[in-house]
Subunit: 338 residues, 2 copies
């Protein structure tokens, strides 16, 4: 069964291609009668516009792009990306725009992917994640004049609009809560130090510590893997005095911490409190269940995609602040026993 084209419909209806196009796109130029007749025939033929032909003629690709630059090994276990993708998809499929995905192994490949997509007119714009300080992608987008929305940058960067949430405020809230419980030695096992949101949280942590008079607060940087999370946890729990509370920058490392604590016979939460950043079902699967900072990651994706669609259609869009991440207390946080 050959896929019907607009010419088939025109022939069947006894009109010209142009008339069919007007009818199918709901534009003036054809009478109501003709329009109805054409629509009926199109429905009967199960006609859908060829994305290639439409892209060629109106210059729109009808797709947005997302490049994920993480090795497969790490990628799989991080729930962040899948959540994000679901969110993006929910917006895009409602607008029948496609999502093109690419997984790369380093940033130069990532840059190359954007260049290629743009030159090939495969996408109308892209969503950037994992923004770093002095991120070369921002310059690239400006050079190519490629519509782009940044997720989780400070407030968007350069001329690029961003979708962000107030990580600093959430960090402060967590520290204040731990301090109120009586914790004075607080550590944080952070992610990659050159990511913007890592830096933002680190700054918020030290500012809150200073304000609260906590002098024994430190941040350890990792690469987000469970291995490094476990290693950092062992090191922290071996210090004297050991921290009485540890904040982890992702769920995976926090779960690893539970295993390490178990292995070192350190009780959670009696001897050490654990907070995970990015709540995920994983946090409720371990024992004790992890207190966590939750964000609506699906919402992030949905909002970012919506901004990008506006941007692509020529609107000027500003930054969009999503809800502040919220702390969810569970069994892994308590007052220190000392």
């Amino acid at each position: 069964m050959r896929r019907a084209t607009i010419a088939d419909i025109a022939r069947a209806a006894g009109v010209s291609k142009g008339a069919v196009s007007y009818a199918l796109n709901g534009r003036p130029g054809v009478s109501e009668n003709t329009r109805r007749r054409i629509l009926a025939i199109a429905a009967e033929y199960d006609w859908h516009p060829s994305s290639a032909a439409r892209a060629l003629s109106d210059g729109r690709a009808g797709a947005l792009g997302l490049v994920v630059d993480r090795p497969a090994r790490i990628l799989g276990i991080e729930s962040f990306f899948m959540q994000l993708i679901s969110g993006i998809e929910s917006t895009l499929s409602a607008n029948s725009v496609g999502l093109l995905l690419q997984v790369t192994v380093d940033q130069s490949n990532e840059m190359e992917a954007y260049r290629r997509w743009w030159a090939q007119r495969r996408v109308d714009g892209v969503i950037l994640v994992d923004l770093r300080r002095d991120d070369p992608r921002v310059g690239l987008m400006e050079e190519l004049r490629m519509p782009a929305v940044v997720i989780g940058g400070p407030h968007g960067l350069g001329t690029l609009p961003g979708v962000w949430s107030d990580d600093a405020r959430a960090t402060t809230a967590v520290v204040e809560y731990l301090a109120a419980l009586g914790h004075r030695q607080i550590a944080r096992v952070a992610g990659l130090p050159d990511l913007w949101h890592t830096a933002l949280r680190t700054r918020a942590l030290s500012e809150a510590a200073a304000r609260l008079g906590l002098t024994d607060v430190l941040t350890v940087n990792t690469d987000y893997t469970g291995d490094e999370g476990a290693r950092a946890t062992r090191a922290l729990l071996s210090r004297r005095p050991a921290p009485t509370a540890i904040i982890y920058d992702n769920d995976v490392m926090a779960v690893a911490a539970v295993a390490v604590a178990h292995e070192m016979r350190v009780a959670i939460p009696a001897e050490v409190s654990v907070v995970a950043w990015d709540d995920s079902p994983l946090c409720q699967l371990v024992h004790p269940q992890l207190s966590a900072v939750g964000r609506d990651i699906v919402g992030y994706g949905a909002h970012a995609a919506a901004r990008l669609l506006e941007l692509v259609s020529g609107a000027t869009v500003g930054n969009f602040e999503d809800a502040v991440p919220h702390f969810i207390p569970r069994g892994s946080t308590a007052a220190p026993s000392g």
Copy 2:
């Protein structure tokens, strides 16, 4: 900076569009000298072919599709899909073919997505995962004459070629190993019962049990979530006699089982052995580390994408058997204490 077209290059080189096309595609029809000149100009202009124009003229979309039909909540935590996507991507990006992704909430939406993609000529073919018995997608592909490759079906289904691994043999190996350790009460917390691979493993389990004379072997079906895994585990560990070994159909449920065992003060592996199907970094993050059945999921994706590319280009491709999943003993399996 306007994106260069083939006409720009033709003008710059002083030749016709046709000549440029021949030169850029490495076809005969132009002299070596002219070819070199054209290639140099194309490189200078950073020319890449418009995917829309190429798709329109040669009828190829230059993209493959993958629909993932799982709610976001479950999707995030399952490492399977991200691994699979990485694998698919590794093949596709090497062939500069795009991957179009869609996340749907039920199978009717999934079916609709295929229809739309195909009618819109957005993809040249699709990869099907999570095959069910009497899966309507198989018929749809045949009706639309849409190239498709099945991952993890029995041996491909109907006329569709498949990429599969011998889950039955792996299941048998695990059961034999547990039996050799002395286990006689073995349970399995399975995934969705109407998935093909669930059924295959279930059958292999009971056959192996029969052959080994194990009469106390049972399978409990779940929806793959940690919650249901935990619930099933509680139920199993409350039975008398309780199983001395439990096999889980995914990593998430196995991790949940560790927490439940901890909560119920059942020692792993002394009182119950735990085996996870689908090894993932998660399995090494919990204490004790989980013995697991590992598969090369990235390889799955890569192979499936390669078959699909062949299929799209007109080759007849048969089924492809990937390596048999292999058992990785870690700290969660041991001889029963009784």
